[in-house]
Subunit: 339 residues, 2 copies
DNA sequence: TTGTACGCGTTATCAC
DNA sequence: GTGATAACGCGTACAA
C-alpha cells in the first residue's frame, strides 16, 4: 500500500465488506441493485468507518460539483440576509451545497470571478456583480445562470428574477400626491446602472407627469442604497439652503433610514413637514420612528425563486425567461397615514 | 482523442503552448521557475482559451479543497448578515471559497453534516449547529475547526471565538438598578443550551445579588432570540394579570423588538413605565422608537476573527485557544437615558 | 528549465 | 449481482 491519505476511502469500505469498490459505489448511489446481504454488510461497515465520499473525487468522476454559487456585491446590508436564506433553503433541500462570494464587475479583463464553471454547477448572479461580457461568456458555454435583481443582456438571454419596481414606485408617488397633497417630492436614487434603481426612477417620473408636476433636477439626490450616504447628502442639501420639498421617496429602506435621521437632525418633522417612503420593507422598518411606509419586496422569495429556476435549468427543464415578483405598498406613518 | 469533456483543460493549454502539462502546472502555481518565453506564451494561450483550473481535479491532487465551511443554525435573522460578511472578507482575502450551510444538531445518529472534511479544509461552527459528539469526531481527526459563540467541549479543546456576555449584562442590570432605580427587572432568556443565553442569565443573577434583590422566577420569560416569540410571551404575561415589573432585559435585540411592540400594544410607555435593554446592537436598533439601549457585540469582527483563527490552524500556526471579544453598553433612550 | 508517468478517490463501462 | 479497470483533470516526484 502506498496510500498517503489518512482518510477512509471507498476502497477501505470495499475491503472491510469483502466486496469490490464498484459494488460499494453502486450501493451508495443506488444505481443498481445489490443483494440484501451485501447491503447490510455495507451499512455496518460504512457506519463503523464513518465513511463519507470525497466530494472532489466524486465531482471529477461525475463531472458535476453538486454545488451552486451565489455571487453578491457585498453581504453586510440587512437586505442580503433574507436573500441568502431563501437561496440556501432551496439549495439544501435539493441536496446541493452553496458557495457564496462577492465580486464587482472587473475593471481589468481576465480576472476570473471566484466561482464559476470550475467549481459550481450553476450560478446565481445578483445585480451588477458580473458585467455583461462575463454573463455572455457563461451563456456561450451554456453554463446554468440565473440573474437576480437584473435582467439579461440582449446577447445573453438567461433567466432572471426581479421585483416589480416601476408600478409600485409610481403608486407610492401617486399616494404622496393624491392622498397627502405633496407636490415637491425629492427622489433619492440608488446606484447608477442598477436596474432596480432605474425603474424606480422611471416610476417616479411617470407619476409626476401623470399629475402635471414638472420634474426638477434639483430634487434628485444620490442615496446609493446606503444610509450613511443618504444621510450625508440629504443633510448637505438641506443645510446649503435647499430647494423646499415636502416629501422624500428613497431608493431603498437603507437610504430611508439615513433620510429619517437627516430630517430629525435638521429639525424637520416626519410626516408633518416631510413625508417619507422607502423600498424593500426590511424586517425592522415597521419599528422605526415613525414606522416607515415602504414597498414590500419579497426578498426571501426572490432567493427561493431564483434558486428554483436555476435547478430547472440544471435538471434540463425549461425555466421561465423572466420572473417579476409582485411588490406592495405598506402604508405606515412616515407618509402621513395612520397618524 | 477520447475526451468527453467540452471544457478546456491544462492539457489543451500545454498543447497550444507547445510545452508539457507539468510546465503549465508549475507556472500556474508558481512552484518552479519557467523561462520568460514560455511564461509569455502561457499567458497568451491561457487568456485566449480562458482556461480556469478545474477545482475538483486540483483538490483531488493536492488533497485540499481551498474552501472553508460556515455552519449556521439559520440565516434569516439580521444578526447573521455581519457575521457572514466578516467571515467572507477574510476567506476571500485568503483566496479561499466559502461554503455556507445550516444544520441542527441531529437527533438521529449517522446523519453527516452537509459540510465537513469531505468538502472543506476547515469549519467555522456557530453555536449549537453541531453537537459535542460531532465536534469531538472532528477533533479526533485533527480537522481544523473554530467554534463561534460557544466554547469547546471538554474532550475536544478546539479554539473558539465568543463575545463577553456576563460582565456586559451585569453592568446593564446595574445600570437599570442604580441609575434608573428599577428593581423588578424581567429577564427574557434565549434558547436553552445556548452559551450566550446562559452567561447573560448569569450576569443578570449576579447583579441582582449584588444589590440584594431576590430573584423571582416569575420574572424570567422565554424570548428565544426571536421577536415574535418574545412578543407573544410578554404579551400573554402582561394580559394574564402579571407580576408587576418596571424593566426588561432581553437576551438579544430581536427579542427586544418584540418586547417593545408588546409593551406598546399593552399601553405601557418605554422607558417611563418599563425600561428596556437589548443585546447585539443590530444595525437598525438606534432608529427604533425609542432608540434601543443595548450591548454592542462586534459581530462582524467575530466573523473575521474566527476565520483568521481557522487559517492559523490551516497554516500550521498556533491559534488562540479562546478569544473573548469585548462588548460595550450603548446607552440610548429605551432604558431612560437621554430622555 | 522541462518532460514523463503515476496517484488522488470516485464513477461508469465492460465483462462475467 | 458482482468485479476489474479505464477515465475524470491536475500536481508532483523523478528523470533528463
Amino acid at each position: 500500500m502506498t496510500r498517503r491519505s489518512t482518510s477512509v476511502t471507498i476502497r477501505d469500505v470495499a475491503r472491510n465488506a469483502g466486496v469490490s469498490v464498484a459494488t460499494v459505489s453502486r450501493y451508495i448511489n443506488r444505481n443498481a441493485p445489490v443483494s440484501d446481504a451485501v447491503a447490510a454488510r455495507l451499512d455496518a461497515v460504512m457506519g463503523d468507518l464513518k465513511y463519507a465520499p470525497h466530494a472532489a473525487a466524486r465531482s471529477l468522476a461525475m463531472r458535476r460539483t453538486q454545488t451552486i454559487g451565489l455571487l453578491l456585491l457585498n453581504m453586510h446590508r440587512d437586505f442580503f440576509a433574507p436573500l441568502i436564506s431563501g437561496v440556501e433553503a432551496i439549495v439544501s433541500q435539493k441536496g446541493y451545497n452553496l458557495l457564496v462570494a462577492t465580486s464587482r464587475p472587473s475593471m481589468r479583463k481576465n480576472v476570473q470571478p471566484p466561482i464559476g464553471a470550475h467549481n459550481t454547477d450553476g450560478l446565481l448572479v445578483f445585480a451588477d456583480s458580473l458585467d455583461d461580457e462575463q454573463i455572455y461568456r457563461l451563456y456561450q458555454k451554456k453554463f446554468p445562470v440565473v440573474l437576480i435583481h437584473r435582467t439579461a443582456p440582449k446577447n445573453a438571454p438567461v433567466p432572471s428574477v426581479t421585483v416589480e419596481n416601476k408600478a409600485a414606485t409610481r403608486k407610492s408617488i401617486d399616494h404622496l400626491i393624491e392622498v397627502h397633497g405633496r407636490r415637491r417630492i425629492l427622489f433619492m436614487r440608488g446606484p447608477a446602472h442598477q436596474e432596480d434603481s432605474y425603474w424606480r426612477e422611471v416610476g417616479y417620473l411617470a407619476s409626476l407627469e401623470d399629475h402635471g408636476i414638472p420634474f426638477e433636477d434639483t430634487l434628485m439626490l444620490s442615496g446609493e442604497f446606503e444610509s450613511e450616504i443618504a444621510y450625508a447628502n440629504l443633510k448637505k442639501f438641506i443645510e446649503t439652503g435647499a430647494t423646499p420639498f415636502d416629501a422624500v421617496f428613497t431608493g431603498d429602506d437603507d437610504a430611508a433610514i439615513g433620510v429619517l435621521e437627516a430630517l430629525k437632525d435638521t429639525g424637520k418633522r416626519v410626516p408633518e413637514d416631510v413625508a417619507v417612503i422607502g423600498f424593500d420593507d426590511l424586517r425592522l422598518t415597521s419599528f422605526l420612528n415613525p414606522p416607515l411606509t415602504t414597498v414590500r419586496a419579497p426578498t426571501d422569495e426572490v432567493g427561493r425563486t431564483a434558486a428554483a429556476q436555476l435547478f430547472r435549468i440544471i435538471d434540463k427543464q425549461v425555466p421561465e425567461s423572466t420572473i417579476l415578483l409582485p411588490t406592495e405598498i405598506i402604508l405606515r406613518r412616515s407618509c402621513g397615514c395612520q397618524s
